[in-house]
C-alpha cells in the first residue's frame, strides 16, 4: 500500500494535465453537442420533409452506432480517405456528434413541451420565426432541458474515458498507468472513481446553478439557496415527465 501511495504521489504532477485533457474533451464536446442538438432538434420538428428526414437520419445514426465505433472511424478510418484531424479534435467531434444526437431529442422534446399557445401568442404579435424561438420559446424550453442535459453531461464525461483509445492522455489513461505501475487495480481504480466523481460533482453544481438561474428568469423557483446549488440534486424535475424524448 505504501508503494501504491508512493506511485500515486509520483504520478500526481501529471494528473493536472490529464484532468485538463478530460475537461477539454468534456466541455468542448458539450459545446459542440449543444450546437448539434439545436440544429438537429429544431430540424427534427420542422414541417419540411427535406429538413426533417436528414435530421432524423443523423440523429438515429449517431445514437444507433456506438461511440467507440464512431471514434474509431473518425480517428482511424477517415484519415485513409485523406481526412485527418488531431486527436483532441476527433474526441470533441465524436463526443459532440454522439451526445449531440441524444441531446437533440432532449431539445426537441423540451421545445415541444412549450405550450403551443406561446408560439401562437408570438405569431399574434407578428414576430418572425427566429425571433419567436430566440426570445420566447427557447428561454422557456431551456429551463426544461437543463436537468436532462446535466445527465447527458455526466454521461459525456464518462464517455470521454474512451480517449485513451485514440492516444489522448486523459484521466483514464492516467489511471491505467497508475494501475500498471502499482499492479493494484483496486487502489488505482479507487483513485479513479474519486477523480471522476469530483469532476462530475463540480459539473453538476454548475448545471444546478444554471437551472436555478433559468427558472428564476421564468419567475419560477426562488433565489437558489446554497443547498439547491451544491446539493446533489436529482437530475429530473417534475416537468420532465412531460418532456418527450428523454435521455438515453
Amino acid at each position: 500500500m505504501s508503494d501504491d501511495l508512493q506511485a500515486l504521489v509520483d504520478r500526481l504532477p501529471s494528473l493536472g494535465d490529464a484532468v485538463l485533457v478530460t475537461l477539454e474533451m468534456t466541455l468542448g464536446g458539450a459545446v459542440l453537442a449543444m450546437v448539434v442538438a439545436l440544429v438537429l432538434g429544431f430540424g427534427a420538428r420542422t414541417r419540411s420533409l427535406w429538413v426533417r428526414g436528414p435530421s432524423r437520419v443523423v440523429i438515429e445514426f449517431f445514437r444507433g452506432t456506438s461511440l467507440v465505433v464512431q471514434i474509431f472511424w473518425i480517428f482511424y478510418v477517415l484519415p485513409q480517405f485523406g481526412f485527418k484531424m488531431e486527436a483532441l479534435a476527433v474526441a470533441i467531434v465524436a463526443l459532440g456528434l454522439n451526445y449531440g444526437a441524444y441531446a437533440a431529442e432532449v431539445v426537441r422534446g423540451s421545445i415541444e413541451s412549450v405550450p403551443t399557445a406561446q408560439w401562437e401568442a408570438a405569431t399574434a404579435l407578428n414576430l418572425g420565426w427566429f425571433h419567436k424561438v430566440r426570445r420566447v420559446v427557447f428561454p422557456q424550453a431551456w429551463a426544461l432541458m437543463i436537468p436532462q442535459l446535466a445527465n447527458l453531461l455526466i454521461q459525456l464525461l464518462k464517455g470521454s474515458a474512451l480517449a485513451f483509445y485514440i492516444t489522448l492522455h486523459d484521466v483514464f489513461w492516467w489511471i491505467d498507468n497508475l494501475q500498471r505501475d502499482t499492479r493494484d487495480t483496486f487502489f488505482s481504480y479507487g483513485v479513479g472513481l474519486v477523480i471522476y466523481f469530483v469532476i462530475a460533482y463540480v459539473l453538476t453544481w454548475g448545471m444546478n446553478w444554471a437551472e436555478e438561474r433559468a427558472k428564476r428568469r421564468l419567475g419560477r423557483g426562488t433565489r437558489p439557496r446554497l443547498r439547491d446549488v451544491f446539493g446533489l440534486k436529482p437530475g429530473v424535475p417534475t416537468e420532465i415527465a412531460r418532456v418527450k424524448g428523454g435521455v438515453a
Partner: protein, 215 residues
C-alpha cells in the same frame, strides 16, 4: 494505404459469426440488465419518498455516486470483490444497478407528474395507501415513464462493450479479438457498428411510437 484497399468483404463475413455470438450476449445483458434496472429503479424511487431523511440521505448519496462514476470501474470492482460469482452474472447485475440509478430518476419524474388531484381524489375516496399506489398512481406514472425506460434500454445496449473488462466476450470484444489476430480492425468494428444500428434503430422507433401513444 493498403494496396488491397480499406475494406474486405471477405473479412467482414469471416468475423460475422463470432460477432453474432457476441451479439447474443450483448442482448442478454441488455434484457436482464433492463429487468433488474426497471425493478430496482422503481424500488429506489419509492424509497426516495420515505418520510425520514435517514433513508433518503444515504440512498441519495449512493445513487449519485453510482450515477456519477464510470461503469467500467464499477464492473471491475465487482469482479474483483465477488470472486465466486460468474462474470456474466456480475455483468448483468452491475449493468442493472448502474442503470437503476438512472431509471429511478425517470420513475420519480413520472410519479411526480401524476397530478396532485389524483392523490386528493384517492384520499377523498378514503382509499388505503397501498391501493392508492398500485391502482391509481403507479399505473399512471409508469405509462409516462415507458419512453424514458426504452431510451435507457437503447443506451444500455451500447454500453455492454464494457463487459470486456470482466472477461465477458460480447460483440465488441469479439471484434477486437478478431482484429488483434488479423489486424482487420476496420471490418470487425464497422460490422459492430452496423449490428448496433440494426438492433437499436427499431428499438428506438418503438420507443418513439410509445412516446406518441402515451404522450
Amino acid at each position: 494505404m493498403n494496396e488491397e484497399g480499406i475494406w474486405s468483404w471477405e473479412k467482414a463475413w469471416e468475423v460475422l459469426p463470432s460477432l453474432l455470438r457476441g451479439l447474443v450476449i450483448t442482448i442478454e445483458a441488455t434484457v436482464v440488465g433492463m429487468v433488474i434496472a426497471s425493478i430496482l429503479g422503481l424500488l429506489i424511487a419509492l424509497a426516495m419518498r420515505a418520510p425520514t431523511r435517514w433513508v433518503r440521505g444515504p440512498l441519495r448519496l449512493v445513487v449519485d455516486f453510482i450515477r456519477m462514476t464510470p461503469l467500467l470501474v464499477q464492473l471491475v470492482f465487482a469482479w474483483l470483490l465477488l470472486v465466486d460469482v460468474p462474470p456474466l452474472v456480475i455483468g448483468f447485475g452491475v449493468l442493472g444497478v448502474h442503470y437503476a440509478t438512472y431509471m429511478s430518476e425517470v420513475y420519480r419524474a413520472g410519479i411526480e407528474a401524476v397530478p396532485p388531484g389524483q392523490w386528493e381524489a384517492a384520499t377523498a375516496l378514503n382509499l388505503p395507501k397501498g391501493r392508492t399506489w398500485f391502482a391509481i398512481i403507479l399505473p399512471q406514472a409508469i405509462r409516462k415513464t415507458l419512453p424514458g425506460l426504452g431510451n435507457y434500454a437503447v443506451s444500455m445496449f451500447k454500453e455492454t462493450p464494457f463487459l470486456f473488462a470482466i472477461t465477458v466476450v460480447e460483440m465488441y470484444s469479439a471484434a477486437l479479438n478478431f482484429g488483434a489476430n488479423t489486424f482487420s480492425y476496420i471490418e470487425a468494428l464497422t460490422m459492430v457498428g452496423l449490428l448496433f444500428l440494426i438492433v437499436s434503430y427499431p428499438t428506438s422507433l418503438l420507443v418513439r411510437r410509445m412516446e406518441i401513444r402515451f404522450a
